[in-house]
Symmetry: C2
Subunit: 560 residues, 2 copies
C-alpha cells in the first residue's frame, strides 16, 4: 500500500473545508482513497477502519490536521500531498470576500437587531462563544456537539436568569419566526408550536405537520441532554412557557426520547397547566394512556403530527373549572393491574407518588401500613393475602385502611376500585358505600371516587353497585383512564415557576441572526431571507490549548 501522511500541527479548518479537501484529493488521478480529519481519537479509529492510518498518523494530536492519501504508486501519493495548499487556496478564493467581523461583539454592533446567535464551532470552543452571546443578551442556537455537560448546565442557568433560550448543545434543528436554523424542513407557518430534544424527531414531526396540511408557529430544539436529570429540562420548560403565551400558537407538541422521570413529571405538570392542547411524544416512554385532560399521548412521531393537525382544527376543550383540592390522593385498590395502570397514568402528572407496588425505586412506600404524599396501595398484593381472603372477597383490610386515611389531615381524595363478577364479594358496595358516607360526613374536605369494573350480567348488579356508591357521595368511573383524568384535575401538581419568562417580542419580528461556525448555516439564513452576519471565527490562540489556558487565566485574573 502506498500510504502517505501529512500532519499540520495546531491547524484549524472547519469541517466543510476538510470534506472538500478530502474529496479533491480522492478525485486526483491515481489516488484510491484519502482522509482529511482533525486527529481526534474517534477520527483516528475511523481512519484505521478505512486502512488510512499510519504510525505517523497515530502520533497526531486532536488539534492537528491529519491528511492521508492512498495511491497506486508512492510518487502519486507524494504528489497529491504536495497539492494540498493549492487545493485549500482554490476553495478559499471561491468563498465570497465580503467584510466579516472577527468577533461576536463586532457582529452584534453590525446587526444590532440580531436576537439569535447560531454556534457551530468545535465543541471545546463552543461554550465560551455561547457564554459571550448570553452576555450580549442574545438567544443561542448551539449546533456544536461534544460540549461538556457542566458547561451546558452553567449556560442554561445563566440563560434562565436572563430569560434567554439556549437551544442545544447538539441541537440540530429549529424553526424560529418561520426560518429554519441548522437542519430544517421547509414548512408552512401555522398554529402548531413545538419543543423537541431531538433533531430528526423535530424534523419528522414538522415535515409531517406540513404534509398533512398543518403549519408551524415556532419549533424549538433543546439538545438531547436537556431532559436528563442534570439539566432538568431548563430549556424545554422555558420554551413551553413561551409557546403557552404565544398568541400564534394554538397547539403544542413535545418530542423527546424518554426524559428522566422527575423531568418528565415537571414538563407534563407544566404542560397540563398550560391551558392549550399538548401532544406528547416521548418516544418509547411508558404510555400513561391516550389522553389526560389537555395532554394527548402519541405512539409515534408521525402520529404526533397527525394529532397536532387534528387538534389545531378543533375548538379548544374547556375543562370544567373547579377549585382543586389541597392535599393528597390515597388510592386503596383490590386489583393489582388497576392499581398499576392508575400509577402509570398519574406518575407523570401527580408527583411524587408512592406505592407498595412501585413502578420505580423512588416510588417505594417506606411503610406499607402508612401512606405518604400521594399513595396507591394494592391490597391484593401477596403480603396482604397470605392465608387471608383476597380484598375482592373480603373488605375488612380496605375498610380499616380507609378509616386510617380519614384520620390523616393530608388526605384529600380517596380512590377505590370495585371489581364485580363471579368469585367477588356478593355486594361490595353494601360495605364500601356506608364507609364512604361516614367518611364524607366526618371529613367534608375529603372527596371519594371509585372505579367500577363490571358488566350488566354480573351477579352483584352493576347499576345497583354504582347507585349505592354514588348515593354515598363517591364519583364513579368505569375505566382507570377516566379516574386518572379526574384525579389529575382535582389534585393538579403546581407547575414549575419560570424565574424570568422569555420576552415574546423577538419572536414576533423577522428573524435576524449572527452565525459563528459552519458557513453553510449562514448561507441558509440568507437563502431564507433572514438578516444575518457571519463571524470570521478562528480558535483562540490559533488552537494552541496551552496558550488558550494561559489567556483564559489572565482574563479571569483581570476580571477578578
Amino acid at each position: 500500500m502506498n500510504l502517505k501522511t501529512e500532519i499540520r500541527p495546531g491547524t484549524y479548518f472547519d469541517s466543510v473545508v476538510l470534506m472538500h479537501l478530502q474529496r479533491s484529493l480522492a478525485a486526483l488521478p491515481g489516488v484510491d482513497d484519502a482522509g482529511v480529519v482533525m486527529a481526534t481519537p474517534a477520527n483516528l479509529e475511523l481512519l484505521a477502519e478505512f486502512d488510512l492510518l499510519t504510525d505517523e498518523g497515530k502520533a497526531a494530536r486532536p488539534d492537528d490536521m491529519l491528511i492521508v492519501v492512498r495511491a497506486k504508486s508512492e510518487k502519486t501519493a507524494v504528489d497529491a500531498l504536495a497539492q494540498v495548499d493549492e487545493l485549500l487556496k482554490k476553495r478559499r478564493s471561491s468563498v465570497a470576500s465580503e467584510f466579516r467581523p472577527r468577533s461576536l461583539e463586532a457582529a452584534a454592533k453590525q446587526l444590532p437587531e440580531a436576537a439569535f446567535v447560531l454556534i457551530s464551532v468545535p465543541g471545546r470552543y463552543a461554550a465560551s462563544v455561547a457564554d459571550q452571546a448570553l452576555d450580549l443578551g442574545r438567544h443561542v442556537f448551539l449546533y456544536s456537539d461534544n460540549v461538556a455537560l457542566e458547561d451546558e448546565v452553567k449556560l442554561k442557568h445563566k440563560a434562565g436568569d436572563k430569560g434567554l433560550l439556549v437551544m442545544g448543545p447538539d441541537c440540530g434543528t429549529a424553526i424560529v419566526n418561520g426560518v429554519g436554523l441548522g437542519f430544517a424542513n421547509r414548512v408552512r407557518r401555522g398554529d402548531i408550536g413545538l419543543v423537541a430534544a431531538a433533531g430528526t424527531g423535530l424534523q419528522a414531526v414538522t415535515a409531517g405537520i406540513h404534509n398533512l396540511g398543518g403549519g408551524v408557529s415556532q419549533a424549538f430544539g433543546t439538545g438531547g441532554r436537556d431532559l436528563k436529570t442534570d439539566v432538568g429540562g431548563l430549556t424545554a420548560l422555558l420554551a413551553l412557557d413561551l409557546l403557552a403565551r404565544d398568541p400564534e400558537t394554538r397547539v403544542i407538541v413535545l418530542v423527546s426520547k424518554p426524559p428522566a422521570a422527575a423531568v418528565a413529571a415537571r414538563l407534563l405538570g407544566a404542560a397540563r397547566a398550560c391551558g392549550k392542547p399538548v401532544v406528547i411524544e416521548f418516544i418509547g416512554y411508558p404510555s400513561p394512556g391516550r389522553q389526560i385532560g389537555n395532554l394527548h399521548f402519541a405512539a409515534s412521531l408521525h402520529e404526533a403530527a397527525e394529532l397536532a393537525v387534528a387538534l389545531s382544527g378543533q375548538p379548544p376543550i374547556q375543562e370544567k373549572e373547579q377549585t382543586p383540592l389541597k392535599g393528597h390522593l390515597r388510592g386503596l385498590f383490590s386489583g393489582g393491574t388497576l392499581a398499576y395502570e392508575t400509577l402509570l397514568g398519574l406518575q407523570g402528572v401527580l408527583g411524587p407518588l408512592y406505592s407498595n407496588t412501585p413502578l420505580s425505586a423512588d416510588q417505594k412506600l417506606e411503610d406499607v401500613f402508612n401512606s405518604q404524599g400521594h399513595t396507591i396501595i394494592d391490597l391484593g398484593e401477596d403480603d396482604f393475602t397470605q392465608g387471608r381472603l383476597h380484598p375482592m372477597m373480603d373488605n375488612d383490610l380496605r375498610l380499616r385502611r380507609l378509616k386510617q386515611e380519614l384520620e390523616d389531615p393530608e388526605t384529600a381524595l380517596i380512590l377505590l376500585d370495585v371489581v364485580l363478577g363471579e368469585g367477588a364479594h356478593p355486594d361490595p358496595a353494601s360495605e364500601l358505600a356506608p364507609a364512604v358516607a361516614a367518611g364524607r360526613n366526618g371529613r367534608k374536605d375529603v372527596e371519594f371516587a371509585a372505579i367500577v369494573v363490571g358488566t350488566n350480567e354480573d351477579p352483584q348488579g352493576l347499576d345497583n353497585q354504582i347507585e349505592q356508591l354514588q348515593s354515598a357521595g363517591a364519583t364513579v368511573f368505569r375505566t382507570t383512564a377516566e379516574a386518572v383524568n379526574h384525579v389529575s384535575r382535582r389534585l393538579a401538581a403546581a407547575p414549575a415557576g419560570i424565574a424570568a419568562p422569555v420576552d415574546i417580542v423577538p419572536f414576533q419580528h423577522p428573524l435576524a441572526a449572527i452565525n459563528v461556525g459552519l458557513e453553510s448555516f449562514y448561507d441558509n439564513l440568507k437563502t431564507q431571507g433572514a438578516a444575518a452576519v457571519q463571524v470570521d471565527w478562528r480558535p483562540p490562540a490559533g488552537g494552541d490549548e496551552k496558550l488558550m489556558g494561559i489567556l483564559a487565566r489572565m482574563k479571569s485574573a483581570a476580571r477578578g
Copy 2:
C-alpha cells in the same frame, strides 16, 4: 386494653372460615375488634397495625391459627374466646354435607370428564396438588399465591411436555368454555380470545369487551410471573398457540405488565406469525408504534377492549404473501431519532438487534465499525461527527459503510434514512441512489429500503429524491412506522416452536372441573352450570411440616 389471645397449633382452616370466625367474634356484644389468621409473619405485622398483637401472639408459628379479641372488659374477651368452637361448629353445619372425595384421584374418578383442576389451597401445598393434577392429565387453574418460583418453572415445563396449561400461580381469573374461573365478570361469548398475566387486567378488558358489545371465546390467565425471564412465557405461548388454532377465535388480545425483553420478543414474534389480528396491551411497555402488521398496540386496558371489538367486526387484513428474506437487517441512519424509533419498533419483532445507540445493554454493538446480526447504526452519533460534517451533509461515511455491508454475506436488507430540508446535503439521492443501484447489481439477494423525511417545499425536491431512490431499486417510505412494518414482514423472526400443542377438544365441550380449596369457587362453578367436584382437602400430615417432609421422602423412596 383487654386483649386476649388464643393459639391453636397446627390447625388449618380455609380463609373463608377464618374470615367468618373473625366477623362473628367482632360482632359479639362488648367486643371491639377481633383478628383470626394463620400466624404468618405478614399476618402478625397486620395484627400489630390493628393493635391486636400480644407477646403471646408473636410467638405463634405460620402453621398455627391465631385468634385475638379486644373487648371492653377482660371477662368479655375471655368469654368470646370460649365461643370459638361453637362458632366454628355453627359455620360447618351450614355447609352442605354431600359426599366429597378426599383426594384428587378419587375426584377424577368421580368426574372423569373434568379436564380442569382449580387449586386455591395455601401456597406451600399448592405445587404438589398441581403436580398431581398434571399427572392425571388435567389442565390447572392455580389461584394460590406464594408458590415458589422454582416450583412454577418445574410445573410449567412438565405441563408443556404434556400439552397442558398451567394458569398461575397467582392466577385470579380465567374464562374457559364460557365459564368464569376464580374471579370473572359475566360476559357474552364471542370471537375474542385473551391471554393475560394479570387478573384485574383481564377482568377490565373482558368486561370492556362485553360493555362495548363484543364477546369472549376463551380468556386464559397465566399468573404474573409467567412473562418474566425465569418462566419465559411458557403458558402464554401455549395459550396463544391454542387461540391461533381455535376456530371460534377471530381476534386475540395479550394483556400484561411489561414482560422481560426477551419474553416480549418471543411473544410478539409468535403473535406476528399467528395469522390473526392481535391486540397488545403490555401496560407501560415502551410503545413501538400503533400497528406493526397484524399487531395492534393499545395505550390502556380500555383501549385494548375497544380495539379488539373494532377488529372483531372487520374482515381480516390479508398481508401480501412474499418469501421472507434470509439474513439480517443493516440500518444505516443519519438521523438519531429516526434510528431510535426504528429500533424501538423492531426490537419486539426482530431479535436480537444491535446498535451503537442501544435501547438496552444487551443491544450494544461490540464493535461499532462492524455489524452483527440485525444492526442499526446512527452515523450522526458524537463518535462519528467530531470535527467532521454530519452525515446529513456528507455521505462519505455512509457510503463506505454501505459498501462494507454489501461485502457481508449476512446482509439481506439495507435500510437508509434520507432527511431533506435546509442545511442538509443539496442532493443526497444523487450520491445514495447510485450506491443502491451498484449494490443491487452486485448482490441480487439484498434489498434496499429508504425512509425519506421531507416536504414538497424542501430545496432538494422531494419527488425528485424519491424518484432517484426508487429508480435505483429502493423501496421508499415516508415514516419510520411504515418502514418498520416493511422490515418486520421481509425479515420475520421465526416464532418459537411449541413442543406439544394443547389439544383443542376439551375447550370445545361444556366445562367440567375439580375444585381443591376455596369452596366459593366450587359454588361459582355450580352456579354457572358447570359440572364440578369439590375435594375435601386437608393439609398433608395435618399441616405438620416435619411430618410432611418425612412423608414426602418416604413417597419418593417408594417411587425410586
